[in-house]
């Protein structure tokens, strides 16, 4: 399932430490903006969510995965809706919001891997 692999890749980057995320953004070519971390997640999250709802029905593990992904999406939405663009600079990668995202990503990855998709 392509959409599962893609959400896993997006979460792997979100689960990384600040230094590794900075290295990733430098390699990618969008340093010092962290926008791509959120945009990559957002792109795959929408497809993943739609695919799960279409084909897998509902189960406790799927609901937990979706709840965590919704939480990550909510944090990014909240950061996006502020006028403070410092949220989207690499200097913010260790603030409360990014740490929450990191924690959720770490928690969600094994849950997705356990899904029988």
């Amino acid at each position: 399932m392509v959409y599962v692999m893609q959400i896993i890749e997006a979460l792997k980057i979100l689960a990384e430490t600040k230094d590794k995320q900075i290295g990733y953004l430098k390699d990618l070519g969008t340093y010092p903006s962290t926008d791509e971390l959120a945009l990559q997640f957002s792109d795959t999250y929408q497809v993943f969510k739609a695919s799960l709802e279409d084909s897998l029905g509902s189960s406790l593990s799927i609901e937990k995965v979706l709840k965590n992904l919704d939480s990550v999406n909510y944090i990014f939405d909240r950061m996006s809706n502020t006028s403070d663009n410092s949220f989207w600079d690499i200097s913010s990668l260790d603030n409360e919001e990014w740490n929450s995202v990191r924690k959720l990503a770490v928690e969600t990855l094994p849950l997705i891997l356990k899904l029988e998709i």
């Binding site: 392509v2 893609q6 969008t30 903006s33 791509e36 945009l39 739609a50 939405d77």
Partner: protein, 199 residues
Amino acid sequence: MIESLKYRILWLKRIIFSLISFLILNSLIISVSANPINSEQSHHTGISQVYTYDEIESSVHMEVGHTGGLSRVLSGKVVRPDIESLAGVTSVAAKTSTTALRKVGSVLESVDDVMANPNLLKGKSPLQVEGILGKTPGWRIETLGQGSQKGNGWVLRQYNAKGNPTGPQLRWHPGGGHHGPTPYWRVVGPNGDLGGIIR
């Protein structure tokens, strides 16, 4: 004596008459023998014209056979061969331009071209790309959904019949900030990123 002289004069007249007659006859013969040349030329011209016409017609039929003989059959009109020949060439040119095969990704004309060669977006503005791809069926124009430029930028995203995003998209980020990145494109295909960051 007088009788003898008259007799000689008579003979002289006959000789002169014969001579004149010969000359006249000879001139007629020369004329006739010259006229056959003219006649032959004239005839040859006539024949030549026919042959020439046949050659043209033959040539035209070949042209028609290659190009647009069907137009004559379909229209049922008698068309001057040279005109039909030209029309046939035109139809070949038109046919060539519409059915010509080109490598996907060689020219920016469709989303498939971008997926095959994301670098086609290099140096392009969103407005330029929207002008070419903006009306692609199944694809919607949006703005960036998250990040420092939420509501800005330009996104062309594919949706399925249920209205759900399928993954493939073309995304333009305007960059931002004094120290931020310069504007860039990102292309996502069915299997993920294609071509990385494109500027």
